[in-house]
């Protein structure tokens, strides 16, 4: 396995060459959204300039072309996630919509009064609130798998929480606030032994580690295109076909039907049953190009390079006095959350920005995680394969600048 040629890769990303406030941009906010390679930008532009038509309608040339491109993207995503069937790939607006879709269809049909939904202590709000809403509606209870001080889930506690009342498990693959990689394969096997299906939130794993939904055996997997070099507003829900088949539709409208009379509607087959209305065509096409791009680089090589960066960045931060790292699990991916004694995360983010370094400061849509670690917020460096050790050096220099201003 050859190493990534990061300098060559960086040439593919126009935004990485921006200057902000007279300084070269150092982009370390990839967990929020990734930058886009020229190939994706071109695909979206080309679609509107040369291929624009509605899909699954009409026999004219452009419509056939757009449909073909849209459906080819579905196949590319299927391959990227190693899903058994193309029809198991549903295009959504993003990971958030994927979770809501499952909660509102599978969840409403299977979770009842007195039942329990189990999620982890490190979930993003998008894998908390949809389940909370469902539990409130149904008179069910939301239970939480605890974690230790390093930010690792307590698997033995998870086992205890699995009971006949547990009707659904929602689990992040990689924590956006801590970077922890959860042992999802093992936990899914435990849930299945209890007869409970599992939804894996892959928003932070799909851009960073190889995904094999058959190997981990999840029932549902969601991710967001914009975090994996694709356009915003497009995401993916993978679901095992028998589960998706048995689920009621999410939204009604065009495309999701076979026939409609005022008396009765016959729903379309998978995946169209869950794609009501004109979809985000250029988004899906762009996402297809994005996963091709990632696959060509190789997810294993990406993971390996990011691990090297993570180790380098961890060492840099550890050497700065007054820095506390939040999330110190041995198995992590791409995220370095931290606080500084001398400054609030918001001020850290500001000084970083003034030094050209883009990071996130805040609760990262994971307020329960902040409460668990007793901090109001953290500053977060999040990596992508196009980052370099020089980027992390710039971050470390910015941290020193913070100390200079606030110490």
């Amino acid at each position: 396995m050859t190493e990534l040629d990061v300098e060559r890769i960086r040439k593919d990303f126009p935004a990485l060459h921006l200057t902000v406030g007279g300084k070269s941009l150092v982009y370390l906010d990839n967990a929020a959204t990734s930058q886009k390679p020229q190939a994706v930008i071109d695909a979206v532009t080309r679609y509107y300039a040369e291929q624009n038509a509605n899909v699954h309608r009409g026999v004219h040339y452009l419509s056939e072309l757009a449909t073909d491109l849209y459906e080819k993207s579905r196949k590319k995503v299927q391959k990227f996630l190693n899903a058994p069937l193309t029809c198991e790939i549903i295009f959504t607006r993003g990971a958030t919509e994927g979770v809501n879709l499952v909660a509102q269809t599978y969840g409403r049909a299977h979770v009842g009064a007195g039942d329990e939904v189990l999620i982890s202590a490190m979930e993003h709000h998008s894998n908390i609130v949809p389940w909370q809403m469902l539990c409130e509606e149904k008179g069910a209870t939301l239970r939480v798998i605890p974690m230790n001080d390093a930010g690792e889930l307590l698997v033995e506690e998870f086992e205890k929480l699995l009971t006949p009342r547990t009707k659904m498990v929602g689990l992040s693959h990689v924590s956006n606030a801590l970077g922890t990689v959860n042992p999802v394969k093992k936990m899914i096997a435990m849930a299945h032994a209890n007869g409970t299906p599992v939804l894996v939130d892959g928003a932070q794993s799909a851009p960073h580690v190889p995904i094999d939904v058959q190997d981990i055996d999840c029932d549902f997997f969601v991710c967001s295109g914009h975090k994996m070099c694709g356009p915003t507003g497009i995401g993916v829900l993978f679901g095992k076909a028998p589960r998706l088949d048995a689920m009621p539709p999410y939204q009604g409208g065009g495309d999701m039907i076979l026939s409609v009379t005022f008396e009765k509607t016959i729903f379309n087959s998978l995946p169209y049953k869950f794609e009501a209305g004109t979809p985000h065509i250029e988004g899906a096409i762009g996402l297809g190009v994005a996963v091709d791009y990632l696959a060509e680089l190789g997810m294993e090589r990406i993971a390996k390079w990011e691990d090297e960066l993570l180790e380098y960045g961890t060492r840099l931060l550890s050497n700065i006095e007054g820095v506390r790292r939040i999330g110190t699990a041995p198995h992590k991916a791409a995220v370095l959350s931290f606080t500084m004694d001398c400054a609030h995360p918001h001020d850290i983010g500001q000084i970083f920005s003034d030094n050209g370094v883009a990071i996130r400061a805040g609760h990262h849509c994971a307020q329960p995680v902040m409460q668990r670690f007793g901090v109001p917020a953290t500053a977060r460096i999040s990596l992508a394969f196009y980052n370099t050790k020089a980027d992390l050096d710039a971050a470390a220099a910015a941290a020193e600048a913070v100390k200079k201003v606030f110490d």
């Binding site: 406030g21 400054a343 609030h344 995360p345 918001h346 001020d347 500001q350 000084i351 003034d354 400061a361 805040g362 609760h363 902040m370 109001p376 917020a377 600048a401 200079k404 201003v405 606030f406």
Partner: protein, 150 residues
Amino acid sequence: MAENRALYEQVILEHNKSPRNFREMTCADCKADGFNPLCGDQFTIYLKFEDDKIVDVSFKGCGCAISKSSASIMTTLLKGKTKKEAESLFVKFHALVTSEPDAPVNAEDLGRLAVFCGVREYPVRIKCATLAWHTMLAALDGKGDPISTE
């Protein structure tokens, strides 16, 4: 680092490090909680009156340098003021931080508040600068509900 200086004036940094009137007040006549969910800033403002004048004001909580120093400087300006005067000071401060970055600043009129003119260059920080002030207004109005700047 010239850019930082525009926002983090020395006075701001100094109040952040050593906030004035940073204490609970058990005998307060009114108090209110303020919360900025975006960045987790959280302050309680306490006010004590004699007749119609503020005779003591203090705050507790945590937040970024901008929100904390703004709260601190605010407490130094409110003593001796009536409710009406406190409200008009808020209006003046609010007008400053929400004005265009290149609008003229009447430093004489604004006094110590003028150090916050750098906030105008950073729209996301306006909420930080005004959190304590909104909370103070809520305390004046005797509203017990937490104030959110979202």
